[in-house]
C-alpha cells in the first residue's frame, strides 16, 4: 500500500491535527479500496464458517454468503469509481453496497458503508482519525437502518469497534494499522459477548453470525495492512456449492438470455474433465458454468437444446439433480397473463413477489402478481434485483411482498431507492405472501392496499418442513443433523424422522376451530403421491378441514403449509 507523508496542509488532504504534531500518514482512495478488497477476500474465505453459525438449523439465507455477495458488489463499484479520491471511492462503495445488499446482514452492512462514505465526505485523503470517525458514523448509520435495533448483533459489534477505533485514534501519530488493531480486538471481544446479550444465541450456543462477519472483515483489512499477502491469495475453487451459488447468482442477476432453457445437473463419474465439459457447453449456449472435480461436476447452461446438454452429460456419467426451466415460456406465460387483462387493466397497483420454486412462482403468477424476484430462504435476492423488478412494473405504485424475514430489509431498501411509490408489506412466508396478494383490493390505491394486505398476512399460519442442517438444541427441542424439522410461524416446534409426520405433529399444535383450509405446497424433493397421501390422512384426522395439494417445487423445503 502506498502512503504519503503529510505536509501539514496538503491541498488534497484534510486539515492536520496538532500544529507541531508528529508526522501523520494519510491514505488515498486506492488505499481504501485495497483495504476493503482484502476485507472482502478474507470474508470470502470464511463465508462458509460464518454460514454455519445459524441459530436455527434450517437451510436459510446464509449470513456469510449474503455479506460476501454484498461486499463483492461493493468492490465492483469501488473499482469503477474512476478517481483516486477517498471520498469518491467511498461513495462508489456505498452505492455498490446499496444495490448489491442481500439479506438483513447485507442491508445493515450497506447502511454502514453509507455512513462511512458520509464520514469521509470531502476528504480526498484520510488519516487514522478520519477513518475512526467514519467508523463511528458507519455504526450510527447502521443502527438507524434497523427499525428495532437489538443488542448482541452486528450493530453492537459495530458500535464497540467504532468506540475502540476512536479511542485509539485520539492518540497522536497513530497509524491506520494500529487503529485497526484496536478495532479487531474490540470486534473479537464484542462478538464473544453476543450470546450474553441475546438469549436466542445463548440457547443455540452460537455467536452472532453478522457480528462474526464484521470481525472477519476487519481482520482481513488488518492482515492486509500487516502485509500478510499469503493469507489473501485468491480463493481456489474448493467448495463447489459455494462457488456455484456466487456464479449462478451473477448469471441470473444479469440480462435476458437469448436461449430458452436454463439447464442444470450434476454428473458423477470418473476422470471428469471440467475444461472439456466447459468447451462443449459453450457450443450449446451461454451463461455456462462448470464446477467440481474429476468425480463430480455441476453444470449450468442456458441453451435452446437442453436435450443435447443432457445427452452429453449422460455420456460422461450418472446424472442427478437435473433441472430444466423454460425461460421463454415463463416470460411468454407472463406476457399472456398481462394481456389477459388482470394487469394492468384491473389492478390499480403493481405487485412484486419474492419466491423460489417453479410451482410457487406459477401460483403467484396465476393470482396476478406483476413481477417475481427469484429467491427466498436459501438465496436471498439483492436490493438491485428487487429494484429491477419494481422498475419493470407498468404501474407507478408498487407493493413488494418479500415472503421471507431475511428479505424484508432488502425490499425496504429497494423501496426507498425506487423512483416509484413503493410499499413493502412485510410478509414472512409464502403463505403470508399469497394471503396478502389475494387481499389486493382492485378499488383501492397503494396506501390502503398496503394496510389491507398487511392485515391479511396475519390471517394465515405457516408451517415449513425441512431438514436440519446441523444438530442443535433449540427451545428445549433436541434436533439431530439430517432430521426433519417443522417450523410454525418461524418457530421450531417439531423434530421428526418423516416429513409427513412432521406436518401432522405440527398441525396437532396449530389447528383451531377457526382453521377451515389447509393448503400444502410440496417441494422439489417431495412427490405428488406423497403429498396427496398426506392430505388424505389429514382429511381423515380433521374431517371439517378442506385440504388442497399444490405443487410448489421449492428447494430444501418438503412442505410449506398454509392454515387459514
Amino acid at each position: 500500500m502506498t502512503t504519503t507523508e503529510s505536509e501539514g496542509h496538503a491541498a488534497e488532504g484534510p486539515a492536520r491535527r496538532g500544529s507541531a504534531g508528529p508526522q501523520v500518514l494519510t491514505h488515498s482512495g486506492d488505499d481504501l479500496r485495497e483495504v476493503f478488497a482484502a476485507a472482502t477476500t478474507w470474508l470470502e474465505r470464511n463465508a462458509e464458517a460464518i454460514n454455519s453459525i445459524n441459530v436455527f438449523p434450517v437451510p436459510d439465507g446464509d449470513t456469510g454468503t449474503n455479506m460476501y455477495l454484498t461486499m463483492r458488489a461493493t468492490m465492483d463499484e469501488a473499482y469503477q469509481a474512476g478517481s483516486d479520491a477517498a471520498d469518491v471511492v467511498a461513495r462508489a462503495m456505498a452505492r455498490g453496497a446499496l444495490m448489491g445488499a442481500r439479506g438483513n446482514s447485507g442491508v445493515i452492512l450497506s447502511q454502514a458503508l453509507r455512513g462511512l462514505a458520509d464520514g469521509l465526505s470531502g476528504k480526498a485523503r484520510f488519516d487514522a482519525l478520519d477513518f475512526a470517525t467514519a467508523l463511528e458514523q458507519a455504526a450510527s448509520s447502521a443502527h438507524r437502518a434497523v427499525r428495532n435495533p437489538v443488542e448482541g448483533t452486528i450493530l453492537t459489534v459495530m458500535r464497540e469497534v467504532a468506540v475502540a477505533a476512536c479511542n485509539r485514534a485520539q492518540m497522536l501519530g497513530v497509524s491506520l494499522r494500529s487503529v485497526l488493531t484496536s478495532a479487531v480486538a474490540a470486534a473479537k471481544e464484542a462478538v464473544a459477548k453476543t450470546p450474553t446479550l441475546l438469549p436466542v444465541l445463548r440457547d443455540a450456543g452460537v455467536v452472532d453470525a453478522g457480528g462474526q462477519g464484521l470481525y472477519i472483515m476487519l481482520e482481513g483489512a488488518l492482515r492486509y495492512l500487516r502485509g500478510d499477502a499469503a493469507a489473501l491469495a485468491p480463493l481456489a475453487i474448493q467448495d463447489p456449492e459455494y462457488t456455484w451459488l456466487n456464479a449462478t447468482a451473477t448469471l441470473h442477476g444479469g440480462g435476458e438470455s437469448e436461449y430458452g432453457y436454463c439447464t442444470e445437473f450434476l454428473v458423477t463419474g470418473e476422470g471428469l474433465d471440467a475444461e472439456a465439459v466447459l468447451e462443449r457447453m459453450v457450443t450449446l449456449g451461454d451463461s455456462v458454468f462448470v464446477v467440481g472435480d474429476e468425480k463430480l461436476l455441476r453444470i449450468h447452461v442456458h441453451t435452446s437444446d437442453p436435450g443435447a446438454a443432457i445427452g452429453y452429460g449422460t455420456s460422461l456419467g450418472e446424472l442427478t439433480r437435473l433441472k430444466v426451466d423454460n425461460i421463454q415460456a415463463q416470460a411468454e406465460e407472463f406476457a399472456r397473463k398481462v394481456q389477459a387483462g388482470y394487469e394492468p387493466n384491473l389492478a390499480p397497483v403493481s405487485t412484486v413477489a419474492v419466491a423460489s420454486g417453479r410451482g410457487l412462482e406459477d401460483v403467484f403468477r396465476s393470482l396476478g402478481v406483476t413481477a417475481i424476484v427469484h429467491g427466498g430462504r436459501t438465496m436471498n435476492p439483492s436490493t438491485q434485483q428487487i429494484l429491477a423488478a419494481i422498475d419493470s412494473c407498468p404501474r407507478d405504485e408498487v407493493v413488494v411482498l418479500p415472503n421471507n424475514k431475511n428479505v424484508i430489509l432488502t425490499a425496504e431498501q429497494a423501496a426507498q431507492h425506487s423512483k416509484k411509490d413503493v410499499k413493502v408489506v412485510p410478509t414472512e412466508s409464502i403463505p403470508q405472501g399469497i394471503a396478502a396478494l389475494l387481499a389486493l383490493n382492485l378499488e383501492s390505491g397503494l396506501r390502503e392496499n398496503a394496510a389491507i394486505m398487511g392485515e391479511a398476512r396475519h390471517q394465515v399460519r405457516t408451517i415449513e418442513v425441512t431438514k436440519a442442517i446441523r444438530s442443535a438444541v433449540i427451545g428445549g427441542l433436541s434436533v439431530r443433523k439430517g432430521q426433519t424439522i417443522a417450523l410454525l410461524d418461524g418457530r421450531l416446534v417439531i423434530a421428526e424422522d418423516i416429513p409427513g409426520n412432521a406436518v401432522r405433529s405440527c398441525l396437532a399444535q396449530a389447528v383451531t376451530p377457526q382453521v377451515s383450509l389447509v393448503t400444502m405446497y410440496y417441494g422439489a424433493d417431495t412427490s405428488r403421491e406423497e403429498a396427496q397421501t398426506l392430505a388424505a390422512e389429514i382429511k381423515k384426522e380433521y374431517p371439517p378441514l378442506d385440504t388442497e395439494v399444490v405443487y410448489g417445487g421449492q428447494p430444501h423445503y418438503y412442505y410449506i403449509v398454509s392454515l387459514e
Binding site: 396465476s366 393470482l367 399469497i434 387481499a439 383490493n441 382492485l442 390471517q459 399444490v550
Partner: protein
C-alpha cells in the same frame, strides 16, 4: 289516482313487503331441462335449491314473457292510470325489453314508466320499496320513477360465490375469471352494478364473508343494508350482527335469494346490498 309499482321476482322482496306496499311482482321463469316454472308461483325457493343441488340438468332462467307483463299492466290499468315498472338490470337479462314491449302493446290508456335498475336482488328491491313508498305518499308518476332511479344509483351489490361452477355454466364470468387463476381454489367477491366486476377474492368462506363485509362497509353514509342468502341463513344472521355493531340504527333487510341469482351463483352464494344516502347521489 295512486301510482302503482311493478317489479319482477328477482327483486327478492318478502311477501310481507309486497303485501304492505301494494307491489305487483311478475314471476321470472326457471327451467330444469324441458320443465319450466314461474319463480315463486309454481316453485318455492326451497324447492328450487333442493333441485339445484340434486339435479343433473343445470337450471336456466329466462325473463318473464311479454304476455305476463301485458296481463299485469292491463289488470292494474283498471285501478290506475300510471305504473312504474322497475326491473332486473338490462346487463343481465332481457326483462326490461319484455316490459317495454308489453307497454308498447298496451291498448288501454295508462302511462307505464319502465325503470332499468342496472341491479339485481335487493339492489332492485330497495329501489322498488322507495318507489312504492313515494307512490303511497301520493307521488306523481315522475316522482315515483325518480325515487326508484335515485336508489338504484345509490345502491351497491356485492356477492360472495362459494364456487364458480354455477357461474361457469351460465357463461357469465370471463371478467371475473382472470382474477382467479387456476391453481388454487378461490372464492371470488363480485360487484353487481351495471356490469359484473371482480372486487376481491378469498380462500375460505369465513375470510370471504369478512372481506365482503369490509368492502361493503367501506361505502360512505350507508342508509340501508340488505343481506341475502340462498341456503345459509346462519351466515346471513352473522353478517347482520356485524352490520348492527358497525352501523347501529341502520335498517337491515334479510332476504332469501331467488332462483335467478341462485342458479348463477350456486347454493352457497351470499349477497350484500348497501344504499348510500341521498347526498351521495
Amino acid at each position: 289516482m295512486t301510482v302503482r309499482v311493478v317489479t319482477d321476482s328477482t327483486a327478492d322482496l318478502s311477501p310481507q313487503t309486497v303485501e304492505e306496499l301494494q307491489i305487483t311482482v311478475v314471476p321470472q321463469i326457471v327451467m330444469f331441462g324441458q320443465e319450466s316454472f314461474r319463480d315463486g308461483v309454481d316453485m318455492t325457493t326451497d324447492e328450487f335449491f333442493e333441485r339445484l343441488t340434486k339435479s343433473a340438468v343445470a337450471p336456466s332462467t329466462s325473463q318473464a314473457p311479454v304476455g305476463a307483463f301485458l296481463e299485469i299492466y292491463e289488470a292494474l290499468a283498471d285501478e290506475t292510470d300510471a305504473i312504474v315498472s322497475i326491473h332486473l338490470g338490462s346487463e343481465f337479462s332481457g326483462t326490461v325489453a319484455s316490459a317495454t314491449a308489453a307497454r308498447d302493446a298496451l291498448s288501454i290508456a295508462c302511462r307505464v314508466e319502465i325503470v332499468d335498475s342496472h341491479a339485481a336482488s335487493l339492489g332492485i328491491g330497495f329501489a322498488v320499496i322507495a318507489a312504492a313508498k313515494a307512490a303511497k305518499g301520493g307521488g306523481s308518476l315522475d316522482e315515483v320513477a325518480a325515487a326508484a332511479r335515485s336508489v338504484a344509483e345509490r345502491q351497491y351489490t356485492l356477492a360472495l360465490l362459494d364456487t364458480l361452477e354455477y357461474a361457469r355454466r351460465g357463461g357469465r364470468i370471463s371478467r371475473i375469471e382472470s382474477l382467479l387463476g387456476n391453481l388454487l381454489n378461490i372464492k371470488p367477491i363480485i360487484g353487481i352494478r351495471g356490469e359484473t366486476q371482480a372486487l376481491g377474492r378469498a380462500r375460505t368462506r369465513a375470510g370471504g364473508l369478512k372481506r365482503m363485509f369490509e368492502l361493503a362497509m367501506a361505502h360512505p353514509d350507508i342508509v340501508d343494508v340488505g343481506i341475502m342468502h340462498a341456503t345459509t341463513p346462519a351466515d346471513a344472521e352473522m353478517l347482520a350482527d356485524w352490520v348492527r355493531e358497525r352501523l347501529p340504527g341502520v335498517p337491515i333487510e334479510i332476504a332469501r335469494l331467488g332462483p335467478v341469482l341462485g342458479a348463477h351463483g350456486g347454493p352457497g352464494i351470499m349477497v350484500m346490498v348497501v344504499v348510500e344516502g341521498e347526498s351521495r347521489a
